[in-house]
């Protein structure tokens, strides 16, 4: 690995640590509804969040059987964008602080 790569990796690590220490993270939650098809929910998770088929199915089943699943964690503004995108798809999504 060349030096610039090493430096980049270090900066990135610092960024992550700062985010964890300074800003308490938020989560995007998708709630179960009796209307949207399981295949559709899984498709949305795969196509929008980039989950693998297995991971998308796992979170979809969690929504279905537990009533809700966390689908993303991060800064509040980013979670708001995810929630809006889920509403675009007709999925029932909300955001809250991760520790709420």
């Amino acid at each position: 690995m060349s030096m610039p790569d090493l430096l980049e990796a270090t900066e990135h690590d610092v960024d992550l640590r700062e985010q964890t220490v300074l800003g308490s993270p938020w989560v995007t939650i998708v709630w179960n509804d009796p209307v949207n098809l399981m295949s559709y929910v899984s498709y949305v998770f795969r196509s929008y969040f980039g989950f693998s088929q297995r991971e998308a199915d796992r979170r979809m089943m969690q929504v279905h059987s537990a009533g809700r699943a966390v689908v993303a964690t991060g800064p509040r503004e980013e979670m708001e964008r995810h929630v809006e995108a889920m509403h675009d798809f007709g999925l029932w999504a909300t955001l809250q602080k991760a520790d709420e």
């Binding site: 209307v35 098809l37 559709y40 498709y43 196509s47 929630v83 509403h87 675009d88």
Partner: protein, 159 residues
């Protein structure tokens, strides 16, 4: 109706004229509902839900910044569906409907919005709630599930 299938470019199904007209009508009704939302309409609240369940102030603020754009995009999705069904609606026999990827994205969202609205009107709130057997909207609700499922399965093949 012949279910959606993946083609070399895009997706293809066939709709009878009355089926195509029905979907067009439903998209227009959703458009009208979102253009002038009745206060406290449960269907509108389901299409544009609160983003902050335990913080009414933050929920109101989120709504102020996003609801208009969300509603506009939902209306546009419905119009895209209606446009792609124009030929099939005016035909006298079952007609092929071809969608590109962008139209297909509008379709899956618009059908979800239509089914959510029907479910709200029929009081479908839990996983085991079923429409009454003699309820015409219930038949449409189930048929649209079939339409959407076939399109989603076809689209999965492209991920």
């Amino acid at each position: 109706m012949r279910a959606f299938r993946r083609k070399s470019a895009g997706y293809e199904a066939a709709f009878a004229p009355e089926e195509a007209r029905l979907i067009v009508q439903l998209t227009e009704q959703i458009g009208a509902m979102l253009a002038e939302p009745a206060a406290g309409d449960a269907a509108v609240l389901r299409l544009l839900p609160d983003a902050y369940p335990s913080d009414p102030e933050a929920a109101a603020e989120f709504r102020r910044f996003t609801a208009e754009g969300l509603a506009e995009r939902k209306v546009l999705n419905g119009q895209t569906v209606a446009t792609s069904l124009a030929e099939a609606s005016a035909a006298t026999s079952a007609t092929k409907v071809r969608l590109d990827e962008q139209q297909a994205q509008a379709w899956i969202r618009a059908i979800s919005d239509i089914r959510l609205t029907i479910a709200s009107r029929l009081g479908i709130e839990r996983d085991d709630d079923r429409p009454n057997a003699d309820e015409p909207l219930g038949e449409i609700y189930d048929w649209l599930a079939f339409v959407q499922e076939s399109l989603v399965v076809a689209m999965q093949g492209r991920l």
